[in-house]
């Protein structure tokens, strides 16, 4: 049981063992295994339709694979109910932004703290005692993130009117507000201009270095991946075809073939 030992080790946040995911007859993932170490930036890359987003959904528990095991924080994870998914402290951002457009930046980020608020409906309505205390504590956490992401100026702005790049940053902020053990970023740079990309890269690195957050990200922009990631796993046709340091992966013949195509 070598895998069990490995998963128990404290420096592995998540261990994915031999995972296969099927949608009816379609095999989205087949026998994929890799792990995510504490404090690293782990990139998952691959051509379109390779199964990256499925992988992310498996990681956060939204999909349950038909085969294989997921070890999270040293424990084997059973099938989760939706509310349990929210409480396991894996936060994510989405490929297409999923914020509450009519709400302010601050309110959006406060929703990330939802899992930490325990006061009942009545005391929340009266905003008295525990509810008030709780909100103050949680607001401080959110304010620190606002400061960290340099979005003080838009604190009270409704999200819908913000430019795309800023919305992405707010979404990152909301995910951080949950103080995640593992942060999943689904194409954080998609649709951004160069300047926005540079900003986002800096924030991802800062989150990783300053807050020590473990990050798994899917990204298309190879330049970005090579700069950011500590380790890269490459998926193609639902199978893992390479895994390692960015440099190793870049020179891997399988990866080059997968991206450029190969004549058979």
């Amino acid at each position: 049981m070598e895998q069990v030992e490995l998963a128990n080790k404290n420096d592995i946040v998540m261990d994915i063992v031999n995972v296969t995911l099927r949608f009816g007859g379609v095999k989205a993932l087949s026998h994929v295994s890799f792990n995510i170490k504490r404090g690293e930036i782990r990139a998952i890359i691959g051509p379109n339709g390779a199964g990256k987003s499925s992988m992310l959904n498996v990681i956060n528990g939204f999909y349950t694979p038909q085969e294989g095991e997921i070890w999270f924080e040293g424990k084997r994870r059973p099938r989760l109910k939706p509310h349990q998914i929210a409480y396991q402290r894996i936060a994510r951002t989405f490929q297409n932004i999923a914020l509450f457009e009519g709400m302010t930046v601050l309110d959006n980020m406060m929703t990330g703290r939802m899992i930490y608020m325990k006061s009942g409906l009545l005391s929340q309505l009266a905003w008295w005692g525990k509810a008030e205390r709780e909100e103050t504590e949680n607001r401080l956490v959110v304010e620190k993130i606002i400061d960290f992401l340099e979005i003080q100026a838009i604190r009270k702005t409704p999200v819908g009117v913000l430019p795309y790049g800023l919305q992405k940053r707010v979404e990152l902020g909301r995910a951080l507000a949950a103080e995640p053990l593992l942060l999943l970023l689904d194409e954080p740079m998609a649709g951004m201009n160069n300047e926005e990309k540079e900003d986002m890269c800096r924030f991802i690195l800062d989150v990783n270095e300053e807050l020590g957050t473990t990050i798994a990200l899917i990204e298309h922009d190879m330049g970005v991946v090579m700069d950011l990631a500590d380790r890269v796993v490459v998926i193609d046709h639902g199978e893992k075809i390479a895994d390692g340091q960015p440099d190793e992966v870049r020179n891997d013949q399988n990866v080059i073939d997968a991206y450029l195509g190969v004549s058979h």
């Binding site: 606002i146 604190r155 270095e209 300053e210």
Partner: protein
């Protein structure tokens, strides 16, 4: 001369801690909440930093560079420097590496205090040029975790070793404090000037304190004032308002959360005493005009009606002149519906005394603020004078004068029309530059300002014509006063900056910078598509708009006997914003005319050779000091 002062800034701090111990001295918005420090707490903080300096081995007379945005701790780090007999040298935080390197090297700083990682990076990059610089202290630890900390210290380390430092260096601090006297150097401020390398203006405690005292009396400032510190700390204006006058009166200085939140914070604080260069008033005006453009029809017409009314009677009402009772009633209705809310949005509701200085403000902009009931006044000053030369007393405010000499200031105008002054605030010297000192200040203490002006015989007010160097003659002998024309053009919110040429030439021409916020808003409303600043600037519709503005200005000029020579015949819209990083503006955002004329000589030629198009390539400097270039084909249009 008025009476000598017997205070230094650190002594004023001690006095305030004793007299106003529990009153708020500083506020800073952090994590969305205004955090505050009383004078007593400030005194303790300053002691902590001063002891930290001693522990780092800073000697008397050594220089401590301060680099960062307005934050209480950085202000305290300057007072702490004075406390141990060292000299603070604030540097513009948005300066590019080379400029910072020059100042660090020239003042031979022994220690640099940096606000955050960005500033630390710039200093480390320039360390080559400043061999004397041994240590750096930083405030915001973000991103600095993995830096080599052998010569890099956090402010927190001062706090952590406070008890130990107090034991070891307490006596030394006491001894150093006793040696500070009013004639010792208080600060060195580097002014970029419109030409050449920056010069370090050396000001004594006596300079700063007497200028602060006299100006406070002039406007009866009190301990109750509230100000917002948002202008660069390296600018003499900020040093006087946020340190000099604040410490003299003991009033509260508030620091915004970040540079982008300034407008918001301004509104929350509601300063009673407000100071800004014309640029800030221009951009405040632009922002509110854009919002009016976006407002509904009713609001818009209401705004227009009452603003027209205010333009007519607002200023007379403010100065106490008689207006008809109907006009006065309409003004009062406007006060409820428009002026009051507008002042509130601008964050200027509580302003008792407002000043604009730094350069001439367009009369239209000036009157706009006064007409909605803001007591905005002008003053004329320089770093070399610890700001104050002349200022306008309440009730004697006009758009085209800069007021009467302040208390203790003597004024003289020579045959060429150049203004000279002598005052208790007059600087000691330019640091390590006796040549410049001698050519600016004579042995009797008279200082040449480099500005041309005259005194209005009727009321004794000084009028500034222009920079003495800039005022010239057209080829036909008529007066050429570029600044005057530029200010008229800049009144239009779409015009951000403009440079007018014409000295010794047949006619005047202009380069115009559009305001991206304002023109961008117009483009959005009119479905004009553009992908870059350059494309928008070159858009034919934009040219038409600018042409219209130039036409309006020309009409005004044609009616003015003296300035009819300054009519702008041809103009172009620049493809890039004039930028201090490229040396085209000073750090206080004054146009550096000669630099622009040199750099864009091809454009100037084209403005006069009758061509309708010109291709140009110009160098741009990025924030991190790297260079790049952009090229464009610009159209030249007849006005």
């Amino acid at each position: 001369m008025t009476t000598e002062v017997s205070f230094t800034i650190p002594e004023l701090l001690d006095r305030n801690a004793q007299e106003y111990g529990d009153q708020i001295a500083n506020r800073e918005k952090e994590y969305g909440i205004w955090q505050s420090w009383t004078w007593k707490e400030v005194q303790n903080q300053v002691e902590e930093i001063a002891l930290g300096y001693l522990a780092l081995g800073i000697k008397e007379g050594e220089h401590i560079a301060v680099l960062g945005r307005n934050r209480p701790k950085l202000y305290w780090s300057m007072i702490a420097a004075q406390r141990i007999g060292a000299v603070p040298v604030p540097i513009y935080q948005d300066a590019v590496g080379d400029e910072i390197g020059y100042v660090l090297g020239h003042c031979e700083a022994a220690l640099a205090v940096a606000g955050d990682q960005e500033q630390v990076d710039k200093i480390l990059e320039q360390q080559e040029k400043c061999k004397s610089l041994k240590q750096i202290i930083y405030l915001d630890p973000r991103g600095l975790r993995n830096y080599d900390h052998s010569n890099l210290h956090s402010f927190m380390s001062f706090h952590d070793s406070l008890d130990e430092n107090r034991k070891k260096y307490g006596n030394e601090l006491q001894a150093r404090q006793e040696k500070i006297s009013p004639e010792k150097i208080c600060v060195i401020l580097y002014t970029s000037g419109t030409t050449g390398n920056p010069k370090g203006v050396v000001l004594s405690h006596a300079n700063i304190v007497s200028a602060s005292r006299d100006s406070s009396r002039f406007d009866s400032l009190s301990q109750k004032e509230t100000v917002l510190a948002y202008l660069p700390m390296a600018w003499v204006g900020d040093f006087i308002f946020s340190i000099g006058q604040a410490y003299w009166n003991g009033f509260c200085v508030n620091c915004p959360e970040s540079s982008q939140t300034m407008m918001h914070d301004l509104r929350e604080i509601g300063p009673s005493y407000f100071f800004a260069p014309p640029r800030v008033f221009e951009s405040l005006l632009t922002t509110s005009m854009i919002r009016i453009e976006d407002a509904g029809k009713i609001k818009r017409s209401m705004f227009q009606y009452f603003m027209n009314h205010a333009r007519k009677v607002g200023v007379p009402i403010m100065t106490g002149e008689k207006v008809s009772s109907i006009e006065s009633i309409i003004y009062r209705i406007g006060e409820i519906l428009v002026y009051g809310p507008l002042r509130n949005v601008l964050g200027l509701s509580r302003v008792r005394v407002g000043y604009t200085a730094g350069e001439a403000i367009g009369p239209e902009i000036f009157d706009f603020y006064r007409s909605i009931g803001i007591n905005l006044k002008q003053l004329y000053g320089q770093t070399e004078a610890s700001v104050f030369i002349t200022s306008q007393p309440d009730g004697e405010v006009e758009a085209d004068t800069v007021g009467i000499p302040g208390p203790g200031v003597e004024l003289r105008i020579d045959d060429q029309g150049e203004i000279f002054y002598r005052s208790p605030g007059t600087f000691i010297e330019y640091y390590k530059n006796p040549e410049a000192t001698n050519s600016t200040k004579d042995k009797d203490g008279w200082v040449a300002t480099g500005d041309a002006g005259f005194i209005d015989e009727s009321n004794g007010h000084l009028k500034i014509i222009d920079r003495a160097k800039d005022v010239g003659k057209m080829a036909n002998g008529k007066l050429f006063a570029p600044k005057y024309v530029e200010n008229k053009l800049k009144f239009f919110p779409d015009v951000l900056e403009t440079v007018v040429f014409g000295n010794n030439r047949e006619y005047c021409t202009a380069m115009v910078n559009i305001d991206l916020v304002s023109v961008g808003n117009w483009a959005e409303r009119n479905n004009v598509v553009y992908s870059s600043y350059q494309e928008l600037a070159g858009h034919p519709e934009v040219y038409k708009i600018i042409q219209n503005y130039v036409g309006q200005v020309n009409e005004d000029l044609a009616g003015d006997e003296q300035l009819s020579g300054c009519i702008v015949k041809r103009f172009l819209v620049l493809h890039k914003e004039l930028d201090a990083d490229d040396g085209e503006l000073t750090r206080t955002r004054k146009v550096r005319r000669r630099v622009i004329e040199d750099k864009y000589s091809d454009l100037v030629t084209a403005l006069y050779d009758g061509n309708n198009e010109v291709h140009t390539t110009s160098e741009v400097t990025y924030e991190d000091g790297r260079k790049g270039s952009i090229s464009a084909t610009l159209r030249i249009m007849d006005a």
